[in-house]
């Protein structure tokens, strides 16, 4: 018998089974919808966590304060050295004038400070380099490098007045801890919830096939090959995954739209709807392939139990 004819028959029986076993299909699709919904929730949660962490990380930097008589060449030397470090994400130069303007702006309501500043003949502020690391844990290495340069007095090192990392160290360490812990907890929660919903979906499909165990027995007796028995159930499993995936993708539209504003108030810049709309192809691929794979694999394993020689 041709492979094409077999495939056509298996696909037709799978579709017929999905439709005629309406109640069983409804139960399986409902549970799989919940599973895929948990998965999509974990994806959005993960993206929100990442966005929030990136946002927090960006608020941390190490400032290198130069002496007021530091030359441009010395500052450029230090800047170049920093930019050459693999840990460094960016280095921003703030000139003495910019530093003074920022200072004035920040203290514009503090007349006493402004007056004291006016009485000084010269700009008391030195130029600054704002250094951002790729990861918060890397600030210490950068700060150590800078202090070594400062004490050695090599290149522009002699022009460094102070590195503010050690003043910020406690705050940075705490943030590093929070970020690490959040990531770890996020991963554990994702794995546990993912596994739990996977088991529930798998068992639901197993129950759905359990109701057909006599049918599988009859198919065995009339001489149907393994794949001819298994195929329609796997097609039905794939349909459970496909329909559930579609439902979840459709539901995510209004849910992310509605949840965006409250989430944004809580998490800052992260916008759930923008994430959903901007990453739709990726989310579609993950949800659909996970749903279809789960449906097909669960059916495969469940039927195997009732397949005899």
């Amino acid at each position: 018998m041709s492979l094409w004819l077999n495939t056509k028959r298996v696909a037709r029986y799978g579709l017929i089974g999905f439709i005629r076993n309406g109640f069983v299909s409804l139960a399986a699709v409902s549970i799989m919808t919940l599973t895929l919904f948990v998965l999509s929730g974990l994806m959005v949660f993960g993206a929100a966590l990442d966005a929030t962490l990136v946002q927090l990380t960006q608020k941390v930097d190490v400032n290198v304060y130069f002496t007021t008589n530091a030359t441009e060449a010395q500052i450029t030397d230090v800047k170049k050295m920093l930019e050459g470090m693999p840990e460094v994400a960016s280095v921003t130069f703030v000139s003495r004038e910019e530093a003074l303007a920022t200072f004035r702006e920040r203290h514009k309501n503090d007349q006493l400070t402004i007056q004291a500043l006016d009485e000084l003949r010269d700009n008391p502020l030195g130029a600054t380099l704002e250094v951002r690391a790729k990861q918060t844990s890397q600030y210490e290495a950068i700060a150590k490098f800078l202090t070594t340069q400062q004490s050695n007095g090599t290149s522009g090192g002699s022009a460094i007045d102070k590195v503010n990392f050690y003043q910020n160290k406690t705050a940075i360490d705490r943030l590093t801890n929070i970020i690490d812990t959040s990531k770890r907890i996020g991963t554990i929660v994702a794995v546990v919830m993912g596994l739990a919903s996977l088991l529930i979906a798998f068992n639901t499909i197993r129950l759905a096939i359990y109701t057909s165990r006599d049918e599988i027995g009859v198919m065995n007796i009339v001489g149907a090959g393994r794949w001819y028995v298994r195929g329609p159930f796997m097609i039905a499993g794939i349909l459970y995954g496909f329909v559930s995936g579609l439902i979840v993708l459709l539901l995510l539209y209004p849910i992310t739209l509605y949840m965006s504003a409250p989430l944004q108030r809580f998490l800052g810049t992260f916008n759930a709807f923008s994430y959903y709309a901007g990453n739709f192809p990726f989310i579609f691929f993950v949800i659909m392939s996970f749903g279809i794979a789960l449906g097909a694999l669960s059916s495969y394993l469940a039927v195997r139990r009732y397949l005899r020689n």
Partner: protein
Amino acid sequence: MLLIFWRMIQYDKVTKIYHGGQHAVEDITLHVEPGEFVFIVGHSGAGKTTLLKMLFAEVLPTSGAVYFDSRSIGELSNAELLRVRRNIGTIFQDFRLLPTKTIYENIAFALEVAGKDDDDIRADVPHVLELVGLADKMWSFPRELSGGEQQRVAIARAIVNQPAVLIADEPTGNLDPINTHDVLEILKKINNLGTTVLLATHNRSVVDAGGKRVITMDQGRLIRDDKEGKYVL
């Protein structure tokens, strides 16, 4: 082995002990020739069903061997076993139809697994349903049919591939006398066309009216084998 060669079905010192030590069948040796009609009788638990199930390897013997067309069933490859099963029609007391398939699809399924193409199936299914008097029920589901009708569908499915052997395990157990008579008449017709029929039953009147070979079992043992027997227990 030479003797086995030309015999269609041969049970050779077959014993089946289920888990828990229950002896379902004990040391049975018998053979069945092509075209025979054989009643297998005995009380419930006598081992009739186990004996029949061993012919299509739904149950495997603990010792001894069952031969079909001179091949030991237990030594067949998976593909060979499937071919044997397609050459053995089976009918059960509880009909065992596929509940989510229509009557047409139930019968077509047996033809599909045998590798028939769609044109043959479209021709054969109505024909076999006409033979069992159910042509008008083609698009019904099994649950919409009476017990007698369901059993006739099961017969149609069992014979549609024109098998060499038809196994019927208590086929009239759930039927009233009129349906019992109808089913029996159909089985006799099939036998007259050359199909070997093995029919397990504990219905005395069915056996006594048959005038066929009767194998009597008791507590897993073969206690009588009469060429034109009666129900004696």
